[in-house]
Every structure is written in C-alpha cells, then in structure tokens.
Symmetry: C2
Subunit: 489 residues, 2 copies
C-alpha cells in the first residue's frame, strides 16, 4: 500500500487492452463491406486512432515494475471501461449516426457496461456496421466482466495481492483454475458456445443471421440493445421469444457452474443456492405478473393465457437478468407489476454472470441474516451460524454483504435525488437510476420500454453514465478512486 | 423459552393497562361538559366497556406466576396497542363521528402508533371531545414508546431476561435508573414538561387553549393529528410555526439526553453522534429544499425567502421527526423535494424518542459500516473498528443493525407491492407504505398532505394499520409472533 503508484503498469495494461479494441474495430469494418455500405472508413479511422492511443499508452508504460496493488487494479478496471467507451463512440459520432458527443458516449458506455439504455429514437436508421458495433460493445463488456470476476479476482484475492478485491463477484468462490489465462480461455469458450448456440436457434426461428448474431451478443452479455426500435416485440413468434427467455436465464447463471457442468460436477450445480433462489423468485414473480395481466371477468382462450404468461415471463426474466429486451410496454400494466419489476431490477441475477444489480447471492445471504436475527432473538444463547451452499458465512463476510446491500440502496437513493434535481420527473428519476445502476436499460415513465433516454437533460446523461459504470464495477472499484485514503501513501 | 406460555400474566398486564385507558376516557368525558357538547356519554360508555374488559382480563389473569419471557413480552406489547385501539375507536364509532368501523380503527391505531395518517375529510366537523381524544391517543402512544424503550428495555436486556428485546430502542444504551418505575416517573415528568412548555408557548402565539393542548399532544408524540383540516397552515404565523419546528426537533431527540441534561452531564449530549447527525441532515436537507422553492430568476424579497425557508424547514422537520404536520402541500413542489422527503421519512429521528422510521442511530452506524468497508479494502490487514459515541460497536451489533436496515427496506418493498396489488396507484403505494411504516402520516399523491386515507380500499386500510403497528414496534416484536419457532416449546 505504501509503495509508489505504479502508473507505468497501469498505462501498459490499459494500452494492451486498447489494442484489443483496435483489432475488433478493424474486424467490424468488414461488416459494411459485406452489406455494401459505405461507412467502413469510420471503423478504420477509429481503429487507427485506437492503435495510436494504445501505442502512446504502451510507450508511457514501458519497462514497468511488475508489482500491482489494489490502487492500480481499481484504476485499470475503471479507466479501461471509460477509455473503451471514449474510443468506441468514435464510429457513431464521426459518421453522424449519433451526432451529439454526450449521446454517443452515453450509448457506448451503456453498451460496454451491458446496460442497454439507449438514446436512439429510430434504431433501424443505423447502418449494419453501426448496429453490429453497438451490439459488439455489449459482448466485449460482458466478456470483460466474466473474466474479471471469475478468472482474475479469485486468483488474486487468494494469493493475498487482492487485485480488484473491491469488485469481488461474490462472497464465496469456487476457483475454476489457478492460472488466470487458463481460466480466461475456458470462460471465453463457454461464452462463445452460448453465443453460437443462441445465434443458431434464433436463425432456425426465422430471424436473419445479422439480427441473430447481434441479439445473441446482447443476450449473453445481458445487455439489451436490439436492432429494432420495438425490441423483441418486432418478432411476434413464441418460439423466438422463448429462446430469448431461455438464453437470458442461462446468461444470468454464474458461469463457473457451466464449467462444473462440463466437468460433470453436477452436485455443485444442484446445491447452488443462488441458482435455486434465482429461478424460484423469477418464476414466482412471473406468475404473479401474468395473473395481473389476465382479465378474469372474461373466459380466456389458451392463446391469451399463453401470451400473458409469455409477456410476464419475458419481462421479469429480461429485467431480473438486467438484460432489458422488451416484448410489451409494462408502463401500460398495473402498478403492482411496476413494483415487482423494480424489485427484480434491484436484485439482479447471479454473481459471476454478466448480469448487474445487487446479485442474488447477496440477497440470499442478507435474507438469511435477517432470518437468523429472528432466531437469535428467540434463542439468545444458541450459536446459530448463517450458512450458504453448506459453507459457514464468516461474520466479516456477513457484514460486508449487508453493508454492500445498504450502500447499493443508498447510492440508488442518492442517484434518484440527483436525477430529480437535474429536472427529471419522479418516476423517471426512480426508474432511470435503478435501471442504469443495475445495468438493465429501460426504466419507468418517459424512459420506459416505449421511450428512450434522448430527451433527458445533458447532465442526467453524464450522471447516469457514471451510475452505469459504478453499478457494473460493483460500486467499490469506482468509489475507491474518490477516497482520499486510497491515495494516501 | 421452554416454559409454558404464561398467559395469565399477559392477561393481567394488558388488563392493568386497559384500566389506564378507562381512566383517561373517563377524564376525557369532562371535555364535552366544558364545551357544552352532548357527547360525554360516548366517553362514559367507552370507559365502562373498557373497565369491564379490564376486569375480565384481570380475572383471567389472576394469580399469575411471576416469570416473564420474550414471548410474553412481545404479546403484551403488540396486543396492548391493538386492544387500546379497539377500545379507543368506540367514541368515534358509537357517536357516528367516524361511522365506518374500519375507518375508526385506522384512525385510532394511527393515533396510538403516533402516525397521524387520517381518514377524516372534514376534521372541523368533530366535537371538542372527539378531537381531544384523538390527540390524546397520540400522547398516550408516545408515552408508551418512551417508557418501553428507555425504562423497560434497558433493564431487562441487561438482567438477561430480555423482555421486549426485540424492540430495543437502539444498539447502545445508557441507563437512566436501574428501577423501571423510577425511570418511568422521570420520563413521564420530562414528557409532561415538554408538553406544557409547548402548550404555553403556542397559547402565547395566539392559539386558543384547546388547540394549544391538542397540538402539543401531537407534537411531543410526533403524531401529527391536527384539529384543523389544513393542519398548521391554518395558523399563518411565523412565530407559531417556528414553535412547532422547535418542539418537533425536541421530540425527535433521545429522551435520555434530557435526563442527562438535568443531571448536568452536558458532555453526553455534546458527544451524542445521533443528535449531531440528526441536526446536520435536517438542516442540510431543509436548505436544499428551500433552494428548490425559490425562483431565482426574480429578485426575492426577504419575506418570500423567509417563507420558503420556513416551509422547507417545517416540512423536513415534520417528516424527519415522523410527525406529519404540514404548512404546505409538497406534492406541488419539485420532484427533487419528494425524493428528499421520502429519504427523511425512511431515516426518522433518534431512537429513544417518540419518532419512528429506521432511526438515525442505525443510519449512522450503517454509514460507518459502509465507510469502514472502504477502509478495509484499502488496508486489508489493519483492524479498523466501527465506533459510535466513542464506544466500539461489536460485530454482532453491527450485523444486527445492518440486518434491521435491510429488513426495514424489504418490508417497505413488500408493503408497496401489497398496496399496489390492492389497487392503489404507484406513487400512493410508495408514499402510503413508507409513511405508515415510519409513523409519519401524509404520503404522496392522493394520500399526500392535501389528501387523506378515506378513499383507499378497505383492505389497504387494514394492511396499513398493520404496517403502522409493525413500524412502531420496530418490526421484530410484531413479526416474531408470526414465527413458528417462537411458539415451539
């Protein structure tokens, strides 16, 4: 802690990561060529700028000392997301697809943080290249989070260096592999397999290849950008919508469980409490919402019942996994559903997935802590430990989890206040903050599924960008940078 | 715990407390006589019914064994509030002042829990006797809470029996006196002194004696029932409104600090962190709200500035101390102010006062826990304890406090869901739940300061009555009764 801040290493690592973005931008320039569109140049120029920036960063960061601490970790993670967004907005901005710099930044960081909040009024206007790059930002962001939370964090927090400790994916960890690069490779493979599987299944449902790929990017990353203004409602096919539901759920599961699945360690999956509660809550809420959509005063056909159930399940899944696709405008539903949707936006799905929010593991542990407080009141002398997945939860972990939940809600409250202060309505402020902090996308009222973020004040866009980043990096990583003690020698 | 439930003692204690209500009802029957109104009979009949019930309870509860456990404590506290409300509604109901039983119950438990949520459309219609009794329910409820949290709880939780342990007023306690009856007497004295002082000061401001007394009852209990439909806005006098602000603040302070004040232990007051943060937050929020009320595009006279500041300070004080008086309809203010008001409704003022909500002491300790999580991330090997009032907060207390905050917010979320399900609007559901759980009174939208609770569905009224009770008794006392483990031998 008392060492000099290793800025060279920071520059070097961010520089290397920017190189990845350069390569991806270069590859995306092929998309306009395939579709005979004339905006490949924007991607090439962006790729060039990106490469120059990477070179500059690598130059500053030459011959770094190999030591890395938490400060360096936090700075690398936070600034990688910011720099990626600043580079990633270039094609949108230069091409005039999104003329306003603020809007372009908002849209891009919304992509990289896998939020999916959009300022676009007419998505179909964009070229194939732009739409592909937009969906690609999700995919890159989602992969980044998976690798950080499941490959990098567990190794470092065990070895004691605790790089990125702030952004721990959850209080308990089962390591996949001791070597970061090995784990990252395996996760990348799972990520690609899921994306490919969804692409093929969507194509089989009649979606074209382009839309299938773009939507698979957005699903696996639990992002939510669609290539259509009306999102998934565009495809009025039960098959396609159920495929989305399936893959949104699959993307809300801790990715290490897939690894254990491949290794045939099915017991680990069966006994995973986070997964169990995620699914139980998902289906119970979907059931309640579907009931509220049915008009029981009339006799219902199977079609209306199925359609209500599908809309309810799709919406709850989409918001709970913090994806943000929509098949219906839930602002037209009953207030009860809004309350439920607000709740699942807050909880999110599993840690170690691409989803955002508080995460089910923290919700489960907090609920147990509350329940055990009851038990302790009844049996004051009994020692009743809180258990999770059969493991005992240490008191300091318990405190940390509860403090995170409280901090998350305080940040949300503070965010709602700032948004309201910036001139947004009450419901829009609530919806916008919760949805951006949780990485969901659509909020309530004017920023609901039928609306978008184009009309909100300039300041609110920048503030919500910060909320997206803070939420994506689990608050501490970003907020640590604002703590004076963090920088004290 | 494994003993038989001591139902005799429970009946005996509730019976004795009902006798107190009989006496008070008897005394209140003098009010109609003074004002030459003809409804003294209703109070006499109610008093008679109350006495009969008390006799029945005492009969069932004769010769009890003296042992008392947590189960008995929880049952006594919860049912005293319920039985008091059932008796207390009789004058309103029988006289036809409040013809609906549901409404009469809602109004009375709103009184005894010092909430102040009202179903009355035309308060001025009520006779002096009814209005006096209505304000008196606040005063009795407030006194009950003070005595329970500062006289009974500290003694029992120390001696190990932990009567009412569930309803501990806060995580740290400074005992006033080891004997319950002694402490209760001293608290009663402080309570009476405060009430008398406010009555006199209001009278000096031109309010008549009747209104002065009724409003003092409602202020010291942080209740909020007024004798006027337009609440404190009726008196357009800065002096009167500042007196209210002063006494609402005084009623939001831990009553043991008054005792320490009388004993000249001023250091205890100066070093009390809860008081400090209560005042800091109160004034900061009042300042922000007042800024949002001023139209800076015009030159302002001192009068408008003062009036904006007074309205802002009054409203923030009223909602933060969970009183619920109003001088202005904040639903006409900017959404920002609603967010701030929602926050202070959640926090409440001090433990050991008559105010409701989460209580500042828990907010302060939670905030410190979050802050220390940051510090622990920066210095993983340093042992950094959380301190409150210079004392070290034990880890289990920390967990308990955080769990309470999370539980409170979960109950609020659940309550909002149930209210929305019952057919109330989104904003009404949020406002109604937070305000009744916190014992505030006015909520948002239709149940805001300009509206009332008369139009909400029947079910919602009963549900909000439960929320008031649960909030007043700090959740655990009431919820324990629903836990099977609590009743297992």
């Amino acid at each position: 802690m008392n060492k000099k801040f290793n800025y060279r290493l920071v520059f070097r690592m961010i520089g290397s990561l920017i190189l990845v973005e350069s390569v991806v931008l270069l590859l995306v320039s092929l998309v306009p060529l395939i579709y005979g569109e004339n905006d490949a140049g924007y991607f090439l120029i962006s790729s060039g700028i990106s490469t120059l920036l990477a070179a500059l960063f690598l130059l500053i960061g030459r011959n770094p000392s190999p030591t890395i601490g938490k400060r360096e970790g936090s700075v690398i993670v936070t600034f990688t997301w910011i720099v990626f967004s600043l580079i990633g907005l270039l094609p949108f901005w230069m091409s005039g697809s999104i003329p306003s710099f603020t809007n372009a930044y908002f849209e891009t960081i919304s992509g990289f943080t896998t939020t999916g909040a959009s300022i676009l009024n007419n998505i179909e206007e964009l070229s194939h290249g732009m739409l592909f790059w937009r969906s690609m930002t999700h995919w890159i962001g989602g992969l980044g989070i998976i690798v950080i939370s499941l490959a990098i964090l567990p190794v470092f927090s065990v070895s004691g260096t605790q790089l990125f400790a702030a952004e721990s994916s959850g209080p308990t960890k089962d390591k996949i592999h001791p070597k970061i690069s090995e784990t990252a490779k395996r996760l990348f493979l799972i990520y690609v397999i899921l994306t490919t599987a969804e692409t093929i299944l969507l194509r089989l449902g009649g979606m074209n290849w382009f839309d299938s790929v773009c939507h698979s990017f957005a699903t696996i990353a639990t992002g939510g950008f669609s290539t259509k203004q009306s999102s998934i409602a565009y495809w009025d096919s039960p098959y396609i919508q159920y495929i989305f539901i399936l893959f949104m759920i699959l993307s809300g599961i801790n990715f290490s469980l897939y690894y254990f699945g491949f290794k045939n360690k099915l017991k680990k999956i069966k006994e995973n409490e986070e997964l169990r509660y995620f699914l139980i809550i998902l289906f119970i809420f979907a059931f309640i919402v579907s009931l509220s959509l049915i008009d029981f005063s009339k006799i219902q056909s199977f079609q209306t019942l199925e359609s209500a159930w599908r809309d309810a399940l799709f919406t709850v899944t989409s918001l709970m996994t913090t994806t943000g696709f929509s098949t219906a405008d839930y602002m037209l539903w009953k207030p009860l559903t809004w309350v439920i949707l607000l709740m699942v936006m807050l909880t999110g799905a599993s840690a170690g997935s691409t989803s955002g929010g508080i995460k089910m593991i923290r919700i489960v542990i907090s609920a147990k802590a509350c329940y055990y407080e009851f038990r302790r009141l009844i049996h004051p002398n009994a020692v009743i430990p809180v258990r999770y997945n059969h493991y005992l939860v240490q008191t300091d972990v318990l405190t940390r989890v509860l403090a995170f939940v409280v901090l998350y809600l305080v940040v949300a409250g503070f965010g709602i206040m700032v948004l309201a202060m910036s001139g947004m309505g009450f419901i829009e402020s609530i919806g916008g903050t919760i949805t951006c902090l949780g990485g969901v996308g659509p909020g309530f009222g004017g920023v609901g599924p039928a609306g978008n973020y184009s009309e909100i004040p300039e300041f609110s866009k920048w503030f919500l960008s910060l909320m997206m980043l803070a939420g994506r990096l689990e608050l501490y990583t970003v907020f640590l940078l604002f703590t004076p003690a963090f920088w004290k020698k």
